[in-house]
Symmetry: C2
Subunit: 616 residues, 2 copies
């Protein structure tokens, strides 16, 4: 039954030989890998304005120089990443580049930071997508949809999780249309908006309930400007996705990835600056009463609440859902790298039926759903946790690239050192700004979580290394030929299901079998003794007392005794088990067999199940 449900949701298994066919063209890859980066323009401007408004309406004009600074940062980081793609055509995410060039510990820091950021990407993007839809609903007269933001967000996460479990190729097809719709919608809005402004002048945004803008707020300090800048840096999240997934491109992988990265950065800078400009000229501000997004405010002021506005809102919501999808491509891949290097459990490295890393997808879905519930699907409240991880990874991986250029000294290395070195220094400065300005607003959680994750990675790695040492065959000797067998059959009564187990026991240990029964009810014990004479196959029956009604303890004590007495024998504990004909019937039988088997296995006992199948 479970198998059928899985089949319907996830689809039929795909054979391993089809693996390399699941590659993406540049246009599809842009949709799959860039939606995270591009979609951040839908909340980055709003994040800046949310901080600036604390300085009063006069401070809002600062959004333009701040956005320009962030756009510069974007170009520099993007340019740096082209170097990474060239150097790591097999795929160079922050973890691989950092570990390769700076060693294990920095590599694990980068990995931990990125895993956290991917979870946040899903939670933030889905929540922002829901905000786009509830803004639309509010303008259509359904403001109460906002009350169901959490439920809608959870359903979206579920859909994205299932889509990803089905596999990457289909994702590409499903995801291309909304990404290009979003790009078209936002670029049209910018062109029409600026054109209209030039000809007719910009009209200010109107609100059904006016937001509460202080005329003068806190002093317009450098601190406030840095906070606003830090808030806007969420625009950079996601630009590393392409360098992480070079292998998903059609050959020549590196070249195609680099071209796609350039397209993406250009689109990102254009849209971010355009939206910030329009927000400034149309005086759009975050509204704490209606929760209407900045993009929604601008779009309906330029186009009215008509079909174009609806198109932009729906496209925004869809691309944000797809942005979550970028994390669903990256988190499982990074987890599989960590697993392959034995820093995460093996399960993250194995591909499921549909050739995707199913376990990583499921874990990401669960953690991001948890964040959505905790933060009630309010993406603005999550932003202080966001971007710290990705800038940690930027800084470490650019530093790693510098080290690499210095070591390899390939042609043009000095030029490369300068590019990556400048990128590293700049992102390090931004990282410090992020950590300091966002610390009390939530970044402390991420800053404490990263070392915990690193400790976990190392504990797991230590375990795997110890196991490998202990299982190593070097110096091993073949165990001696086995001596006499002793068999213990655990019986809960005497019935047809027990007979095959008794026969099996006699066949492996002809001269040393006992049947063991735990006395929980004197009447039942008496009955058993009487019938054992006829049906016990001449095997002696041992009845164990159990004053506290425990099954396990008397059995373990008895086995200890046998081990002392027949120290040289191989002891096999045999459990007769009957197998019901229908799945739900399993629930009706004591699960104690499983408990006994687990306990004995942990003790190191050889345990044999002899099943007896019921026909109906």
């Amino acid at each position: 039954m479970f198998a059928q449900i899985k089949r319907i949701l996830v689809g039929r298994p795909i054979a391993t030989e089809h693996q390399h066919h699941e590659r993406l063209s540049k246009t599809t890859a842009l949709a799959v890998f860039s939606s995270d980066a591009l979609s951040s323009v839908s909340y980055a401007t709003e994040a800046i304005l949310t901080i600036l408004i604390l300085g009063g309406s006069a401070a809002l004009g600062l959004s333009l120089p701040i956005a320009a600074a962030i756009a510069m940062l974007l170009l520099i980081v993007g340019f740096s990443y082209r170097q990474t793609i060239k150097a790591y055509p097999q795929g160079g995410g922050g973890y691989i580049v950092t570990r390769d060039n700076l060693g294990d510990l920095p590599g694990l820091v980068a990995a931990g930071a990125l895993l956290i950021d991917y979870v946040l990407t899903v939670a933030v993007s889905i929540s922002a997508g829901v905000a786009a839809i509830t803004s639309l609903a509010t303008n259509w007269g359904f403001p109460s949809l906002r009350d169901h933001a959490v439920e809608i967000a959870l359903v979206c996460i579920l859909i994205v999780t299932i889509t990803n479990l089905r596999g990457a190729k289909e994702s590409g097809v499903i995801f291309s249309i909304p990404t290009y719709a979003f790009i078209t919608g936002i670029l049209s809005m910018i062109v029409v908006g600026i054109g209209h402004d030039l000809v007719f002048g910009a009209e200010p945004v109107t609100h059904s309930i006016d937001p509460d803008i202080p005329l003068t707020g806190e002093a317009l300090s450098l601190w406030l400007i840095l906070r606003a800048f830090a808030a806007g840096c969420t625009a950079l999240t996601g630009i590393e996705a392409i360098s992480d997934g070079v292998q998903a491109f059609k050959p020549p992988e590196a070249r195609n990835a680099a071209i796609t990265l350039t397209w993406m950065i250009s689109l990102l800078v254009t849209m971010f600056l355009g939206i910030t400009w329009l927000a400034y000229t149309h005086q759009a501000v975050p509204n704490e009463f209606t929760h209407e997004t900045i993009v929604s405010q601008i779009a309906r002021t330029i186009f009215g609440v008509g079909p174009v506005y609806v198109f932009i809102q729906v496209a925004t919501a869809l691309i944000l859902v797809l942005a979550a999808n970028t994390a669903f491509a990256d988190f499982p891949r990074l987890a599989s790298f960590l697993s392959r290097d034995r820093f995460l459990p093996r399960q993250f490295a194995s591909r499921g039926d549909r050739l995707v890393f199913s376990n990583g997808i499921l874990v990401l879905g669960m953690f991001s759903a948890l964040l959505v519930v905790i933060f009630r699907a309010n993406e603005i409240a999550m932003l202080p946790l966001y971007a710290v991880g990705v800038f940690t990874s930027f800084t470490l991986s650019q530093s790693g690239m510098v080290r690499r250029h210095l070591r390899l000294r390939q042609p043009g290395w000095l030029h490369s050192v300068m590019i990556n070195g400048f990128g590293a220094i700049l992102t390090a400065i931004v990282l410090v700004i992020l950590m300091v300005t966002k610390f009390v607003h939530g970044a402390w959680m991420v800053i404490t979580a990263i070392p915990i994750l690193v400790l976990m990675f190392r504990a797991i790695n230590l375990h795997y290394r110890r196991v490998a040492e202990q299982l190593s065959l070097s110096g091993a000797i073949l165990p001696p030929e086995l001596r006499r067998h002793t068999a213990i059959v655990l019986v809960s009564g005497i019935h047809r299901g027990v007979l095959p187990a008794l026969q099996y026991a006699r066949s492996i240990a002809p001269d040393n079998v006992t049947a063991v029964y735990v006395d929980l009810d004197p009447d039942a014990t008496e009955k058993l003794r009487a019938r054992w004479r006829d049906w016990g196959c001449d095997i002696p029956l041992v009845v164990l007392e159990s004053p506290f009604r425990s099954l396990i303890n008397p059995i373990v004590r008895y086995i200890e005794e046998v081990e002392t007495r027949y120290g040289d024998d191989v002891i096999t504990v045999i459990l007769p088990e009957f197998v019901p004909a229908r799945w739900w019937e399993h629930l009706l039988h004591n699960q104690t067999g499983l408990l006994i088997k687990t306990t004995l296995r942990l003790r190191g006992n050889v345990v044999t199940s002899v099943p007896y199948r019921l026909e109906r």
Copy 2:
């Protein structure tokens, strides 16, 4: 670790031989078994008034005759139950009496109805207890406590569940004080209140926010009166508890139980009529704004918001929590009867460490918590579901008693037939009134759930009977002596953990062992082949292809082949398993071994685990 937590919460195991010492004296039994019945006076009057108020303020006076009718019903049903206690000194709940005299199907209907009612008892009582506390908090200036009613209720359910898992005797001691405090508090309130009214006249209740009482509401129809009567019948819930638990009394059990029942009915009638009278004279009405209970309104009007008022509210809250405890005594006991008769899974019949039916307690805790969450801890909203079950059981068990008297014709049988017959007819009429008047308000859920439960009971019973037939030894023949052994060792590689399994396989099937490996990665397979020559103990290695990366399917297909080829052999599938040294390390290893074992067990294969313990 889990074992330690359990020890702290539940306590040390109690030996079986202490079982019969856990008996209750009459005063303790009154506390344990009567809290459900007695505590219902804290909401029964309110339930009547909530309906009557729909007819406008003029209708409120009808509460007095309605309460008098319910009091009569109480006396008659109580008197009937004395007959049951006499006839069933070993304990005669609705299920046993009905099944014994009317047969399986009516017995199961009674059982299903009672199980549902016990879950409701917990949910309603705990929610009403929380309402007593939030009313107190409101009068002390903390009205916002009402917003956390659900959380408080869930914590209370958890505490009661754990207390019951610890065992009945301790419960008795803990629970006596609040029950007697409640009785003292309510009786004092009635005496002082009526006395004060006679001397000085009754002053009306004042409200911080006045409730919305329509002067004229819907027409004062018979329908409205019947609905109010049906609502007040919740006062009868719980009076069957004593007859269900006669065995828990000290000897002579039946006599002590009958005396306790008489005390309980007298107290119940006095308190119910007293509260209804005071509610009438002081014009107390349900307040939909403050959610203050009727008892709270009366108590503070009579005593002021002083220590006596606090005493009454706290005692009310505590006895309501204890009322939930009655269900925690009854539900697991009824479930154990059903389990003993094979209508519920066996697990409900086995006593846990502390001699209580732990599984019944846990299931009740979970379902009642679910109800509290669904109904947001609003006991008035749950009342329409309540009492249908208990009146179903009243009617069936009284009818059963009539049948019994007619059959046995013991001395005085005619007198007994008249008492029980009158009780049966009366409760049947009330049951019809309850079902009709409450149907659309929620009773439909119970009316549809009962047949579903009955079907479940019968399906479980059918299963157990089929299993017993199939396992019966009558006509069985001893299976033939076992022929040659064939062993298949499933290996995931070659390391020290595999060697003992290979040796074990050779020892049980010296001439017919193969090792089987599933090829998921060609490189790993090549390595394994190379090392197998040195370490394979001369056992042939079979490598299975797996184009869809499944481990199970190729293994099952291979075993099918072997079964065809060596049809006469006993085939044993051997799994080498290594056992990590620390518990968390188990999470790090593929759980596929468990999946393989389960699959093979369902096929009927003999499966042997050969563990290899890691030291660190």
